[in-house]
């Protein structure tokens, strides 16, 4: 495990790492500004009011990104979040159409999401030999499958009563509620990750799980909490998605896992675990949201947008790796 370096204890490399990350986040801010200028130039409709109107649909993915960053820092992955969103949204619409009081509908949504996350967590913590990839692959099929069964042959459901969801989609001035919620949750998740024992334990587990275990960190309990939190946030995303779409179908939430992972990875969070900060993930979430809104406004083929996002995801990992390799080679050449 020597090759997979954790967070270093000595002072000097710590500074270098911090400088690196700081510059990565600084770069992201520049990218964000460039993105806004770029979108403004390609689309005349790209101004604050329009952007804020279109934002809720995409902000739902930012909810998922926050706990997904934790999962990635653990050195793990969860590809079932899209299916969790699909299942929660389906159940929410069905509960709403059964004329349940709105507070019960919200509860159903969050409970379904949490239950999905809990199932992932329980399987992964009880059978620690299993790779998260294959477990969440199986639950992904199951969750979406249950949604397919409940949706029946039609494959979709629409809300008959949209009053409650209209309330959720409300605004303060021109800023939608969801924006405030994302900001508040982002701050909470970032502070927990950076400043609490829990957050530091996540880094410890991601850097070296065995060492963390011997240091007395409750590895399995922390994993269970994180996967459950991811399920809960997926439920929350489903709630806000429903308030925009007024319905659900078998393809709801398709690709959310990639978007959430892309946001985190583009924000400098390492998929090998143990490295990265949430601030980068949050900035990159807004970069990607701006890109989607801008490209959507010039009526670009949504599939082509997926191609661009896929390429961004790969390049965000590939380029730093190549740059790092070149740096190492240069150093080696210098010392010779």
């Amino acid at each position: 495990m020597a090759g997979k370096s954790g967070r270093s204890i000595s002072n000097v490399p710590e500074k270098a790492i911090r400088k690196n990350i700081l510059s990565w986040e600084g770069m992201l801010v520049v990218v964000f500004i460039l993105m806004v200028i770029f979108c403004r130039s390609i689309s005349p409709n790209f101004h604050l009011e329009n952007v804020l109107r279109e934002m809720p649909k995409y902000l739902a993915e930012a909810f998922i990104m926050l706990p997904m960053a934790y999962v990635l820092i653990l050195g793990e992955i969860d590809i079932s979040v899209g299916a969790t969103v699909c299942l929660s949204a389906t159940m929410t619409c069905m509960a709403c159409n059964k004329e349940l009081p709105f507070i019960a509908v919200v509860l159903v949504c969050l409970l379904v999401g949490t239950a999905c996350g809990l199932i992932n967590g329980l399987v992964l913590t009880n059978f620690t030999e299993l790779p998260p990839m294959i477990v969440t692959l199986a639950t992904q099929i199951i969750f979406r499958g249950i949604a397919e069964i409940s949706l029946g042959s039609g494959g979709s459901v629409s809300l008959t009563n949209t009053d409650g969801f209209r309330m959720i989609a409300g605004k303060v001035g021109i800023i939608p509620y969801i924006f405030f919620l994302v900001v508040i949750l982002a701050v909470i998740f970032a502070v927990v990750l950076a400043k609490t024992t829990f957050g530091r334990s996540v880094y410890a587990i991601g850097s070296n799980r065995l060492a963390a275990y011997y240091a007395g960190i409750p590895v399995q309990r922390i994993r269970l909490i994180i996967y459950t939190a991811l399920g809960f946030m997926s439920g929350l995303a489903a709630l806000f998605l429903t308030s925009v779409l007024y319905g659900a179908n078998t393809t709801t939430g398709n690709g959310f896992e990639m978007d959430a992972i892309a946001m985190a990875v583009f924000g400098g969070i390492s998929t090998a675990g143990g490295k990265g900060r949430l601030a980068g993930g949050i900035i990159s979430a807004f970069v990607i949201i701006m890109l989607r809104i801008g490209l959507g406004q010039i009526n670009m083929n949504p599939q082509l947008i997926l191609v661009i996002l896929g390429a961004l995801l790969i390049l965000a990992v590939l380029l730093p790796n190549i740059a790092g390799e070149l740096k190492v080679k240069k150093k080696a050449a210098n010392t010779k």
């Binding site: 477990v135 199986a138 997926l306």
Partner: protein
Amino acid sequence: MKENKSILKKITGSREASLLIVLIILCIAITAKSPSFMTFKSITDMLKNNVVIMIMALGMLGVLLVGGIDISVASVLGFTGMIVGMLMKYEVVTSTPLLFVIAVAIGLVCGCVTGLVIAYGKVLPIIATMGFMYIYRGLAYVISNSEWASAENLGTFKDFALGKVLGLNNVIWVMIIIYVIFFIVMKWTKIGRKVYAVGSNREAAAISGISTKRIDVLVYTVMGTLSGLCGALAVSIYASAQPNMLYAKEMDVIAACVIGGVSMQGGRGSVVGAFLGSLILAIIAKALPLVGIESIAQNTVKGIIIMAVIILNVLAQRAMDRSNLKGREM
């Protein structure tokens, strides 16, 4: 007495043997329910409909053996299939062999790019192939330009999947040939043994002089090549090319391997296991409607089966470790 025990142990201990038993029990149960299942026609129909998954399971076997994963295979299939369909529709290329060569070549390039990014770019396989999954699927949509190639556009190309040699469908022959090649390569050639070596212990393999990166690129390239071939086969079998062809079927391919006893950590798994795993998956899909489970519930049942299999694997492994320990105590 001792010999008896070892034979018994060999049968219960061998993954392939237990799979075969499951397969036979499944077949007997289904035949009891619907006697028409065990006819030559019904079985060849089932094979023909599952050829694509069965061939791709071989490529996935290689990828899983080196400890990787590739979830972009269905997208590569859709991409190449769409190209073949469009070439045929606009009569750019109409010769069937040439179309197959084009599909295989495109698949090869796609797989090679994936392999290079993973091996030399050091991107985690799941992240890289997740990106490529969306890239290739998106490109399939872009190429299709919201059109699709139907049976009448495909002219002679669809005849390939209708033709027969020695009473067996062409596509089944393709599958058999590929399986035989893989069986020989994985068991008796240097390349095959190197793949196992890299999967069981990457560092040891590297020290013993195997270029692990080259092996990585190789398995992803083979995977891509087979996906490309399957793209052409799928267009021929289903007599249509749509951009959402076999959407999300990469899960079936991985599931077939997992059921067939291929380890997700690498190093363990066999061609026979992949074959039996994909066959069991195909038979289950065929059996579900017979036992009264509607087609809409098929995905859920499939997911539950995968989950059950991987959990049973862990439990069996734990039991085996325990009994090994006991043996040592004696």
